[in-house]
Subunit: 316 residues, 6 copies
Amino acid sequence: MFMHNKRLQYTVRVSEPNPRLACLMLEQFGGADGELAAAMRYFTQGLTEEDPGRKDMLLDIATEELSHLEVIGSIIAMLNKGARAELSEAARSEAELFREIGASGISAKEAILFGGGAALIDSAGAPWSANYIDSRGEPTVDLRSNIAAEARAKIVYERLINITDDPGIKEALGFLMTREVAHQKSFEKALYAIADNFPPGKLPGVEQYASLYVNTSQGEGDLTGPWNSGAQWDRIDDLTETMPIDGGTGIPTVTLSPDQVEVAEQMALRLASVPEDRLTGAEIGAGPGAGRTSTGDKGGAADIAEASSTARAMSF
Amino acid sequence: MFMHNKRLQYTVRVSEPNPRLACLMLEQFGGADGELAAAMRYFTQGLTEEDPGRKDMLLDIATEELSHLEVIGSIIAMLNKGARAELSEAARSEAELFREIGASGISAKEAILFGGGAALIDSAGAPWSANYIDSRGEPTVDLRSNIAAEARAKIVYERLINITDDPGIKEALGFLMTREVAHQKSFEKALYAIADNFPPGKLPGVEQYASLYVNTSQGEGDLTGPWNSGAQWDRIDDLTETMPIDGGTGIPTVTLSPDQVEVAEQMALRLASVPEDRLTGAEIGAGPGAGRTSTGDKGGAADIAEASSTARAMSF
Amino acid sequence: MFMHNKRLQYTVRVSEPNPRLACLMLEQFGGADGELAAAMRYFTQGLTEEDPGRKDMLLDIATEELSHLEVIGSIIAMLNKGARAELSEAARSEAELFREIGASGISAKEAILFGGGAALIDSAGAPWSANYIDSRGEPTVDLRSNIAAEARAKIVYERLINITDDPGIKEALGFLMTREVAHQKSFEKALYAIADNFPPGKLPGVEQYASLYVNTSQGEGDLTGPWNSGAQWDRIDDLTETMPIDGGTGIPTVTLSPDQVEVAEQMALRLASVPEDRLTGAEIGAGPGAGRTSTGDKGGAADIAEASSTARAMSF
Amino acid sequence: MFMHNKRLQYTVRVSEPNPRLACLMLEQFGGADGELAAAMRYFTQGLTEEDPGRKDMLLDIATEELSHLEVIGSIIAMLNKGARAELSEAARSEAELFREIGASGISAKEAILFGGGAALIDSAGAPWSANYIDSRGEPTVDLRSNIAAEARAKIVYERLINITDDPGIKEALGFLMTREVAHQKSFEKALYAIADNFPPGKLPGVEQYASLYVNTSQGEGDLTGPWNSGAQWDRIDDLTETMPIDGGTGIPTVTLSPDQVEVAEQMALRLASVPEDRLTGAEIGAGPGAGRTSTGDKGGAADIAEASSTARAMSF
Amino acid sequence: MFMHNKRLQYTVRVSEPNPRLACLMLEQFGGADGELAAAMRYFTQGLTEEDPGRKDMLLDIATEELSHLEVIGSIIAMLNKGARAELSEAARSEAELFREIGASGISAKEAILFGGGAALIDSAGAPWSANYIDSRGEPTVDLRSNIAAEARAKIVYERLINITDDPGIKEALGFLMTREVAHQKSFEKALYAIADNFPPGKLPGVEQYASLYVNTSQGEGDLTGPWNSGAQWDRIDDLTETMPIDGGTGIPTVTLSPDQVEVAEQMALRLASVPEDRLTGAEIGAGPGAGRTSTGDKGGAADIAEASSTARAMSF
Amino acid sequence: MFMHNKRLQYTVRVSEPNPRLACLMLEQFGGADGELAAAMRYFTQGLTEEDPGRKDMLLDIATEELSHLEVIGSIIAMLNKGARAELSEAARSEAELFREIGASGISAKEAILFGGGAALIDSAGAPWSANYIDSRGEPTVDLRSNIAAEARAKIVYERLINITDDPGIKEALGFLMTREVAHQKSFEKALYAIADNFPPGKLPGVEQYASLYVNTSQGEGDLTGPWNSGAQWDRIDDLTETMPIDGGTGIPTVTLSPDQVEVAEQMALRLASVPEDRLTGAEIGAGPGAGRTSTGDKGGAADIAEASSTARAMSF
């Protein structure tokens, strides 16, 4: 059960309204790594988690993230406060409001659709989607996803700090950013408290493929590092010789029933290609002058399109 | 530049068609943790990465994931092969095809919309979305996201292995699952090769908030663990006494210009609430018998709705 | 600031696991009218609302909806509990797990992607989207949207009650459904407490169009009711005589600069249609036997396609 | 069956091209409360509605909304007319076209992807989604949703009027806005013509929960109003004493079979936490200088991360 | 199996960084007609295609499109290169970074969320969606979709060329645009190599409807052309006389069981409309002064709303 | 301006309710190639089109597609009619309704969320998205897209006909399918009436790349056909020798300012990789027994992970 107190977890002091900055702050409100994503990530994991210690931790952090959603949302509300009333009451001329609000698509959507409210969209106006949440119901996986999610949220706050010069906002963002660091530390502790957490899940890997590095991108710039060389790695460089790795044909197969084989052949026959070069829609659409200028060695149906390309030269 | 060889990286041997199983396999083709998400995650990071060693690794693994997309897609194509031809050529009666294809929404979408082809949807028919990719353009963040992504892909393969009894498919899934383990190991090596990778990004946190655990979920089940107790943690249990943590009022503020203040007051006046209890739409819509049965102490406008609830008893 | 207590607002007592029923319950967890949509609708309005009374109400109800999200999520967790462990530990044979989990696309996604966790998807597996939230930052509008949202949530709970025979779940759903009724009553009171709330917003309508009913759908079944007849309505039945309603030409116009006119003419010339009947791609693709069977009066380029249709008769 | 006349319902007279204004107008073409959403909302309800009077009304209004979609789309087409031809024919220099078209992401998408056509996106470039339509197939619910939808569409038109100074566009928007008012009046009449429309649907609520107000948000700013006080409300202020409201434990339960219990325990064992403070990835990644500067009382594994934070001071 | 070489298919030479231009280029990276859409369109068709010749062609072109994705992604990476480092290292003042990055929502999302990396979004920040791919698993359909997709990709490149004056980018775009032309020619050849490809699929149409043109949009501007007149077309102009075209009633019917009829009647009764004009929520919300100014001939419940409109005059 | 007549364009006669079949029919109502997509595709093109003849054709066909949307929607309404009332009035037992409605996720969503109404979702419950519409504002492109769209709609109807044995529905689907054939013919005529329609748009291609076929997929199965061989094609088989095709280095470049170079180097230094093999999170998480069993030649930090894999053997 949730309860709420009207005081924020961190006091928000905004110097002056700035609707454009508000749009950027939306990234941490309704964006991919924003506070709603964080809160819902941990809350839904907490509901599913059966270990009481981890469940408690997940609900603690989920609840704090909701308080952070409130802090960042309050920043947005303050930044929009003046413009919101001006549009609502038509307090400035049309041209002035258009100049301010029509500065970009997202500021228009924020003002005209949402009335300057804190909306669950990101800085480009894309709606928040539960696709942002990648919980999988297995702690050795989810804790890694949580560690990564906190790292992502941290860097987005860092970038917002780098572009904000309002001291009150900067301070509140610093608090929020640091809490992501603390949460990452908690999730790290919880992951490594599971004695055997790698590989994640229960099934081990197939031994012969678990330490193999396949060098699929070659040419100049082919390098080594601890991720692909050293004692723990087997490495494949000659792809065409060693693939398929199972030693088979590399051709997919399935066994159809005789009836299915017959139907498949019928379909193949219906859709078979005629080998010759037949006239196409592109050729009959390639323009009136096409046939005249084409010359020589390419001949046949292709003449028309070729000629057209010739006739209309492109220069940069 | 990419090149392709028609042999698969791992030979696919499917025993017999099974369109319903094909729908489940879509999870790793067009699903959130499927091979397209993996390939595009590393490929887009590789394009942005400026460190040549990590760039090489990202392109190696991205390219291999494309080959895995081909392996899982070939499994799906084989599982659908018979049914696809039967529907295309109308080789069975309407009732038989309906029984097979109408088994569920997703099998219908797979057959009727996609003609039994390998489509970039997940096992519930939701389209693949770039929202699945969480690259942030900072290696100390992205490598953590990649570690987590490999863990997620691993567990989804593990679950598919657990529900598949076709030995050829099971074997191919085992190969694919193990490669996720190997890739996770590469990304771990690359992360820890960056000497100072925590906190991720460049800015440190604010010291007084970086080791704080806020116990926001309380009551029975409140537990301790390495994630919230021990020497490295400061801990807050009494929320109402300690919040806002900055010692301020906890009330968001912004300074408006005098003009804006005036407009804001004008808006407030227009939208002010009348304190008395006025008749509402719900009350006038609460049904003809409502006024009759309501009695006594709640009085006024609320009578109608109350009475209606009384009149229509609910029993479970 | 939010706080949490591990007790639920309403005790959840589930008789036995039932993953298929869990999928249906997702409608009120991650669905369009589910509790997340409700909580976020009121919470984001509360952040924006400047009237202290309404702000308090919005935060009260938002917080309660979060507690409801926890109740319905706990029902889902309980319904999935057995199957979740069986898949995770591979405790049953592949065929048994496939039969249970492969019953439909959504049950597969729930189990294989989400590990049986409470996920923010709906009963068909579509991810929750902030497009479900229609707050507009104007109380005379938003309160109407809230009234409607509560009505929608109420009917979805009613339908879930109608298909659930587990008494503990039915009882909890009854509680949740009734709370939507109570919330609707609060929002009705808040709307009608704004003395002048219709038309919503600030601008009145243009008088001559505000009481007009345009009878655009005619023919048998054309009826009257209080929505289109009576003293308060003006009504238009003869559309072709009365449109455009402003008495103009009904043709859209814009004034281009002379340069733009010239460019527009250039584009028109490039894209002009030749009036004659030219051979098309469809005709050259209409099949080998086409030309032979076509006869008589349609002639010209159309022969081929026509003939093809003739040659392949369709019978139902 | 639909028919069309090429005259618009309201004559569109645009003074001069303005692609940026066109982007804002998209909000009512392909946006959440735009005319397509309105038309499809009523049209799909009309198909499902079995009451002939309401069906007629829904089809009347749906058809009119299609005509409004045409009006707003024609405004957009006129505003884009010049720029569209200039880009198509490359009639201005690259730098000029970039300056005009690259002004923001949405104007780029409008010009480069859609060629300046009226596209079903909103003012931020997000595609129209059927998630915008909230019809539920129950008139006592849907009519409330329609009332709210008309209120939303009205306020969005009002805001567009407030930022537009082209008199012809302003006049057309005034017409469109007023029609939303008239439609809201029709839907109000239709709702209240259903004698018993509250609570919506058929099931009444559970009596003891239907008039309860739960004061979940407390602290300074806790207020009363007709929505939470007065004769018709019971009110709960002391949450921790009164929850769970059913008098139970507040702990969710389900009865598993003995086999399932065993498997659940096996999973719990695999995933149990070790209580001690183990080294984590964050600690080994916390940077080279970390161990040196940390002092004193926090000790153990936490030293490293702590030290790192110390070493890199953050200043605002 | 895929392989990769670090050289690009076409050398990218960018004159200088330009993050705003980078946003526009995203249209062909993560946009609807961009290179990922192209690559995945042909790759998924290739996996499904059973004709070996067409399969080879689809995999050839899919692989080349991946190389094009790399070329356009490299252009984006180069254009963002400077700004990316400046934001990452906080190398410029907050105000400068805000001016550059806060220019529009999409440039903010590109910088703050994606760190200036090549992201799978379009020029307005909308995420890539598999809804962009319209493969249907039938070659006579898919080849037409491929022809159209190449035409779309071609025009988007053409528009980007028209707004770019960096000669290196212009040249690379010219290469990419031309390859779409070549691919269109291949798909045309493959379509017309299927001897009988129209109508697509296997079923012919119903003869009497296959050459019919229904003139549903009438009034001034009603024109003829080869698409609706000439020997091959039958044409219907008088809709009300000829519809429904099957000669039936035009009323949809279904046969319900007696039980279902009874339930349907019960539902109809519950939801029946009262014919009289009842008071509505709009009327009681229409404002305090409403009743006073309304006069005379419209009377009844409608007075209030009418009066309100009168009282608040709208002027443009 | 649109008008409507309550008669359908084709009479719908459904034998008996069948909610599962209704779900499949949704594919042509709210699916990717359904009638809404068709109507909106042509309607939005019609608004933008400046050629009066093509505009008339587009509006004719758009209007007819709306009438088709009504026909397919009426089929869905009839198929759902019985079940809709039974759920609404709770006319059958919970278990019976669950069996019918809980058959799959999509049938649940259709019944519980939409109340059995015709909803704008596809057969898997995914919401209709404007991403389905690919109009580009250039007739030589859009007409090709329209041709392809009609081909896709045709094949989806063909497949629905193949799985439906209700004669009335089959007949109506046959009508709808055939109209797609007729519309394709109109669009073909309109495309080829533009004298010079290939390459689409205005810019010709770069001559040396316009007839080149790049054989990127090699190995067994490498074939020729009219799409890649014959007089009109130049062909590249040796990729590594001929790429990059422009004769450059294949390495992307950009010129940074000296300041930017310095910042880029600073970022590179911060993120540089240490070459040695450092301990990773995976290794410390690889389980308690790991260190003991590992032997010999791989040594170092990798021991732990290796050992773990060894210890937990995987067998299929």
